[in-house]
Symmetry: C2
Subunit: 477 residues, 2 copies
């Protein structure tokens, strides 16, 4: 049985200890808010970014890399955008012993680095839609409390996509594609999430509107794990991104952008973890099957070792990431070691398995052993890794997620739900700012916005007008 006592009691302590035990990040780098990726964490990051690449490539996004340094002039062009970022950018003012003539900003996000180039690249309607992405470091001078993978000064894993379109409709279609990509991404990771159109006051600086992607952590707090912005023509007007229409006119283009950071890895930890440590979806587990020999004095070590090697060879031939742990340590210690790192399957081979032609398979997601006939083990492992484990993880995460949400029908109800019971409130909201502000201020939580894919008939809990919009209120990270 999986237990989640420690995790629920003190999430922060649990989270920090997992980061260390499972070698996700090392927090001892001598600058606040900057962290070093641990070897295990970095491998998870590789598999996660591989999925992001696959999802973007297959939908016609081209990967590229723009410079990290943005000249002051470009950065200062879009008024709203600057207002949103000027307090949190790092400035490079010196090169060697020279004061720089042109001060440079470390990109906090890449609109102002990319869009001057887009104005050169986009010529005709035939060039559109253009979809570009990169996976890079971005920097925010955070003055708030920092936390590894969640609130950092160097976001080391920022996947940002930027698209250009010839019409408002096409940009809207792109927003839908972005929702589709992010839904699929989090579905594969087994992370339940909400797609919420943020209130006006909470949108991205320079956007027409913003859709936030939110999940809920075991402590009832909401973590934003992605954002999608429809930029309209705001930036294209500032950066002169124009295209020639079929009839020969020159029009300003429409743009969108959407991003996901290493918070997606924080969500893997928080959503699937338990008192033992990590639990990783097989697709992103650096080791998918750990093989542990269980030798006994009275039984040939050689024979057990041979069986383990065969299993490793057979699994590897199937493209399964399998390792043998043949260190000179007690089996129990090895069990704990790999369980805390979230390896989804363990195969134990002891004298009885060898004698009886069996293979013992331990499922990390159920913390349970099963014994299968040696001739069938490969199929069993394949089924578990390809389907059963992630489905079970998804189901469990979904249940936890739903248990954290409560339908509320009054402002008092929200306050009790969010402040006392530490849950997320689900309410009908008409979508108007005036009502939104009341909802936003009635508890310690925030109005996160209304769902773009759920509808439920009801009355706005502030003004009482009939609406199908479903909004969420919760405390946030």
């Amino acid at each position: 049985m999986r237990t989640r006592e420690k995790l629920r009691e003190d999430f922060s302590e649990w989270y920090n200890s997992i980061l260390e035990t499972a070698e996700i990040v090392d927090v001892r780098y001598p600058v606040k808010g900057l962290y070093v990726w641990g070897f295990w964490g970095f491998q998870i990051r590789r598999f996660v970014t591989d999925i992001l690449r696959e999802l973007h490539d297959s939908r016609g996004h081209k990967e590229t890399l723009f410079p990290l340094l943005i000249p002051e002039k470009e950065f200062m062009k879009e008024a709203e955008h600057i207002k949103g970022f000027e307090d949190q950018v790092y400035w490079v003012t010196r090169g060697g012993n020279d004061e720089l003539d042109v001060k440079l900003v470390l990109r906090p996000t890449s609109e102002t680095s990319m869009y001057p180039m887009f104005s050169l690249w986009v010529r005709s309607h035939a060039d559109l839609p253009m979809k570009v992405y990169q996976i890079v470091s971005v920097f925010r001078y955070e003055t708030k409390h920092t936390r590894p993978l969640i609130r950092v000064r160097e976001i080391t894993t920022f996947k940002e996509a930027h698209t250009v379109h010839s019409s408002r409709e096409d940009a809207e279609r792109q927003v839908k594609e972005a929702i589709e990509i992010y839904s699929e991404f989090y579905r594969r990771l087994g992370i339940p999430c909400l797609f919420l159109r943020r209130p006006e006051w909470d949108k991205f600086p320079g956007a027409e509107y913003t859709i936030g992607v939110d999940t809920i952590f075991p402590d009832g707090k909401v973590l934003q794990i992605g954002t999608i912005h429809n930029l309209g023509q705001n930036f294209s007007k500032t950066f002169e991104i124009k295209f020639e229409t079929p009839s020969g006119n020159r029009e300003y283009a429409y743009q969108t952008c959407y991003g996901i950071s290493e918070r997606c890895i924080a969500s893997l930890i928080g959503i699937h973890g338990d008192d033992r440590g990590l639990l990783l979806p097989p697709e992103v587990a650096p080791v998918q099957v750990i093989i542990v020999p269980i030798p006994y004095k009275d039984f040939g070590e050689e024979e057990i070792r041979r069986v383990c090697s065969n299993i490793k060879r057979e699994l590897s031939a199937e493209g399964i990431r399998a390792e043998i742990d043949d260190r000179d340590l007690r089996p129990g210690w090895k069990f704990y070691y790999w369980e805390s790192r979230g390896v989804p399957l363990r195969i134990e081979i002891g004298p009885r398995d060898v004698k009886e032609g069996k293979v013992t398979i331990f499922r990390r997601d159920l913390m349970k052993r099963e014994s299968v006939d040696a001739e069938n083990y490969l199929k069993r492992v394949r089924d578990l890794l390809n389907q059963e484990i992630i489905e079970n993880m998804r189901k469990e995460a979904e249940e936890n997620f739903i248990s954290m949400i409560r339908r509320c029908s009054s402002l008092e109800g929200i306050k009790k739900c969010v402040d006392e019971d530490k849950k997320v409130a689900r309410v009908n909201w008409c979508g108007e700012d005036t009502c939104g502000l009341e909802i936003n201020e009635c508890s310690q939580g925030q109005l996160l916005g209304y769902s773009v894919n759920e509808k439920e008939s009801g009355e706005c809990i502030v003004c009482g007008v009939a609406t199908e919009k479903v909004a969420y209120v919760g405390r946030t990270y």
Copy 2:
């Protein structure tokens, strides 16, 4: 026939035009020395970094990611190191509207970012050797003339490996492994190179010695495309990297580091390119086979399209990166387009091919067509992509390389070879600084150092002492 007239006449002009035509980088970013990766260039970069990862992973290097920002205090610790870099680092002095208490350096290389952490990670001889690497951006405030992929202010693709050892011997063994990795890397890319132990005055700041990896461009100039440093105990003493020996003493560790940048991609362009443009080794070509339908009015377009689709499907099933160019453009235009991008093979399917059951294969490396029976084409393509093309590219590059080197036996000979004939001089040098300085100053070239893997008996061309050391002198980028 491949021709290399334009390339030899004005290499710089040729190089810049290729970068543009083949969409390697866009040079129009509004800050000097910073460039944007083009879509084609970025894909090449992906395959090249995949090889680097494979070579490092398979030899026990662990990939990770350290922060880009280094606090002034750590950066200033190693005296030699600072001297080498202080003129060329970017300083972050402001965050938002605050002057930073602790100034931060954008890493010019990561010794001072990594080694404070290594001093925490390394505990016992059992932790060693430790091999770490990352592929990141590093920054140099270049005041010299900048050039895309060669001399840049943001090196966007710096693979840097850092290793820690329990003995001088083990660090020496690691230097050999680094040579092996880099040899294999450039062998796979078909780039001939020299491994030269740099003269004292040219070593990495803080290293005991440096081995440079050099190739020679068609204009006779030498490009350093990698470096390997034995750091001895210099940095471990500065950063307190100590380990416990089996007998319980605490000793300073021995270290090495070695790096390769996007210059490896510049070398692909310069070494294999010709008047048509790029020529890519199949392993790193984003498209390995471009299929061009050649329709005629009097023959069913449908039939040709069907054959092309079959071929694409068959190639893809073999893991070959194949695309059909079915744009509404003249075949000749398409030929030029893909040739200039360096795609190694083209398959042309016209009416005659279909009627006679043939497939026309065009080899970019020979600029030559061959017609093969349809039932054999797959094997032929496989052989070409796996072996024949890269072997031919390697042979041709090797011949060009050798033709650029001349054996010299006097300082006057070096001067003529380097300054007038624009070649690289090969000489015997005893390895002593005093003789080295004379060799270094006798021409417009530099003494690049002596080879670590070639030997040839002779006399030092300055002092006349018998030596087996073979050194090279050349103009550099």
